[in-house]
């Protein structure tokens, strides 16, 4: 899985209904590294929660000095509580899908949007595939780092699989809905 995330580094993402270049770099803590010592490359970064916690001042200083906005990524195990107090700091929150069948990230996104009022970019990373994009958008994701071995332009069609829904969307999604939840 880490490979999948790593290889998405620098590739395009789907955002606002288009494929755009991605300026964000994903920081992972490899074996033998620690959150305290892992190298932080230049430019805007998506850092794992332990790195955010241990190097918060340094990251904020980078933003202040270089204008590199802050981003964080949550692993499948981490819920929104892990960063709930800091939401205002982030321009991007990414949620990792280690396997596309692990649905925890859907609840994470939904809660970030509806309970914690997060309004910035919410990005799905990891095992992100065309056939899940519609539901991902409904729970509040607005950016999708489609798995690097897949054709991202073709994947975008998945966002338009349905033109209506029974449930209210947690993000900016189109189409009529019927039920209030």
């Amino acid at each position: 899985m880490l490979n999948a995330v790593r290889s998405s580094k620098g590739a395009g993402i789907i955002k606002s209904g288009a494929v755009i270049d991605d300026a964000w770099r994903l920081v992972t803590v490899a074996q033998g590294e620690t959150p305290e010592t892992v190298a932080l490359p230049i430019g805007p970064l998506l850092v794992p929660v332990p790195v955010w916690r241990s190097r918060r001042a340094e990251l904020i200083r980078r933003e202040y000095e270089h204008g590199w906005p802050l981003g964080v990524w949550l692993s499948a195990e981490e819920g929104p509580e892990a960063i709930a107090a800091d939401l205002d700091d982030f321009s991007v929150i990414a949620v990792e899908f280690s396997k596309f069948t692990d649905g925890r990230g859907y609840s994470t996104a939904r809660l970030l949007r509806t309970r914690y009022g997060y309004g910035g970019e919410l990005r799905a990373i990891g095992d992100v595939l065309r056939d899940q994009l519609f539901y991902l958008a409904r729970v509040g994701f607005d950016a999708f780092a489609v798995r690097a071995d897949r054709n991202i332009d073709a994947a975008m069609a998945g966002l338009a699989d349905f033109s209506a829904a029974y449930q209210r969307a947690a993000g900016p999604a189109a189409g009529p809905t019927r039920l209030a939840a």
Binding site: F100, A165, L179
Partner: protein, 561 residues
């Protein structure tokens, strides 16, 4: 019954298009096996022994005659002319071809049907009382609520990739006919002291490897909070249910490990953060849905039809059928009729295309064009005039649907088992057939009285063997098919799980085992005492002693099975 509006039609049509594309990409090698599997499962498509099996949703067991005609057409065109009704009120086709499934789904969409979420780790098709709206012990009609839950659960974006499957049943009667206690959520419609409608919420029941009855976590949930509260339960489960071990992934394991009180506390805590949201469903939406479930245009009839009574006196066969397969209706002069799919020698729940067409015609002629599927794998005509019963009986007898054994030992509930199911440890249909053959004598069956016998081909328990008065479970012993027997299970308000009586049996021993269990009961029963009540009174031991008293023709090879 509920009719689709523009949104329902659009969603189902778009789902068909979506799955058509997914199937095409899979066949073209663009989707891997692992990527396609959850997609096809959430469209009801399994890969079985003989190839794909398609499970079609029959929401809470309601069908129109038009839909049944379409199912007959599909059976003839895409299958081998048969279908199988399941213990979850659905219909399975066992002989479909993968490439044709999108076409079948398109045909289903024409009659407001689909196969959405009949499998997979999502909220499955909901089940409810097959007598909803007509039962004389009903508190209020559950169907508007179940339909709203159905819509809420369909394509729910947050809960499409749960740790494991999730089943919801809604009971609305004094006598629970849905086995709600063995569902992930069992809802019991009830009224508060002030007459407000709400639900008792039971969570964490289930059969399978770890059979357990659900715990009531809320005695009274106002109906307006239904969707929000279910959302809270599902969210706790989605976030905290185990994903590391498929056998420990059901919500029952989470409820058990937390304890039901702690689980309830977490749900309530989640719920307090949801409940300030909008009323859900809106009163207007509820009214729109409920308007589909108004009573059909009943005639004003006498409570007892004289002609019907005379027929019963004159014709013993008719009287016997009425005694077992017809029950009282809340409207005077009407009756509820069970059409048996348990003819001797047949596979329980199986129905031919010709029988489907007959039932559809009879529903049109005698029951306002609608029918129900019972989880006991029979069909129900819910609104038949007493005076039409004799004519109806003659028709269903010709069609092989009048076996007068509803609720008796021969009304066996049975999963498809090893003849079809890829997961099976043992065949189940031949066991059912052999037992039916042994208990062919109707007088004997009637003397034994009401009791249930459930057979599952493996621990997944699709035949609900844990809640059968007698339960039979297929087990694999060194590559051979053996059968473990339990007694004392029951459905209803006092649902209970059966107790295993001892070492397993070979297939050809099974009829004798059942005979001995029945014999022990007949010897010990008090007047009018049901099998289950005798088991409860005297315990398992006397039954066990009888069954294992003398060896059968077989030496028992696996004494500790």
């Amino acid at each position: 019954m509920y009719r689709y509006d523009e949104i329902d039609h659009r969603l189902v049509a778009e789902r068909v298009a979506q799955f058509r594309g997914q199937t095409r990409r899979y066949l073209a090698g663009e989707l891997s096996e692992d990527e396609f599997r959850p997609l096809r499962l959430q469209n009801g498509l399994y890969i079985q022994r003989h190839g794909p099996m398609l499970r079609i949703a029959v929401p809470y067991g309601t069908l129109s005659s038009r839909q049944l005609k379409k199912l007959a057409h599909i059976a003839r065109t895409y299958d081998r002319g048969r279908g199988h009704f399941t213990t979850r009120q659905n219909l399975q086709f066992n002989w479909v071809k993968l490439a044709e499934v999108p076409a079948i789904l398109a045909e289903l969409a024409e009659v407001e049907m689909h196969a959405i979420q009949t499998s997979g780790n999502c909220i499955r098709n909901l089940t409810a009382d097959h007598f909803a709206g007509v039962a004389d012990d009903e508190i209020a009609d559950p169907r508007p609520w179940v339909e709203i839950l159905r819509q809420w659960a369909s394509f729910h974006p947050e809960f499409a990739y749960l740790p494991r499957k999730f089943k919801i049943a809604v009971n609305a009667a004094a006598n629970d006919r849905t086995v709600a206690a063995v569902h992930d959520i069992g809802l019991h419609l009830t009224r508060s002291a002030s007459g407000e409608i709400g639900f008792a919420v039971q969570v964490g029941g289930g059969l399978g490897r770890t059979p357990i009855l659900g715990s009531v976590i809320r005695e009274f949930l106002p109906a307006r909070d239904l969707l929000g509260y279910c959302e809270a339960i599902l969210r706790i489960y989605n976030r905290h249910g185990r994903r590391d071990n498929i056998y420990k992934a059901r919500i029952k394991i989470l409820v058990k490990s937390l304890g039901s009180a702690e689980f309830a506390r977490q749900v309530e805590e989640e719920w307090t953060q949801i409940q300030d949201g909008p009323e859900n469903p809106h009163a207007a939406e509820f009214a729109r849905v409920a308007a589909h479930f108004t009573a059909p245009p009943y005639q004003l009839l006498a409570a007892r039809d004289a002609q019907f009574e005379a027929r019963k006196r004159d014709d013993r066969g008719f009287a016997r059928w009425v005694g077992r397969n017809v029950r009282s209706h809340r409207v005077p002069g009407y009756a509820i009729v069970t059409l048996s799919l348990k003819a001797p020698g047949s596979a329980p729940g199986d129905i031919s295309a010709a029988q489907m067409e007959t039932v559809a015609r009879l529903a049109d002629e005698f029951s306002f064009g609608e029918l129900r599927v019972a989880h006991e794998q029979n069909l129900i005509l819910a609104d038949v005039r007493q005076r039409d019963l004799f004519a109806l009986w003659q028709e269903v007898r010709t069609a092989g649907l009048a076996t007068p054994t509803t609720g008796l030992l021969a009304d066996i509930v049975c999963c498809p088992g090893g003849d079809y199911c890829a997961l099976a440890n043992a065949k189940s249909i031949p066991i059912a057939q052999a037992i039916q053959k042994r208990f062919e004598d109707l007088d004997y069956l009637h003397d034994i009285g009401p009791m249930s016998l459930n057979i599952s081909g493996c621990i997944n328990a699709c035949g609900h063997h844990h809640v059968g008065n007698i339960g039979v479970l297929g087990v694999d012993k060194h590559g051979e098919e053996w059968y473990q027997v339990s007694i004392g299970g029951s459905q209803g308000r006092d649902a209970a799980l059966g107790e295993v009586i001892g070492p397993a049996f070979a297939a050809d021993e099974m009829p004798v085992v059942i005979e001995r269990l029945v014999g022990a009961y007949l010897d010990r029963r008090h007047a009018d005492e049901l099998f289950i009540d005798t088991v409860r009174r005297i315990g398992v031991a006397p039954f066990k002693a009888r069954v294992y008293a003398t060896p059968q023709q077989h030496e028992r090879k696996f004494a500790n099975a």
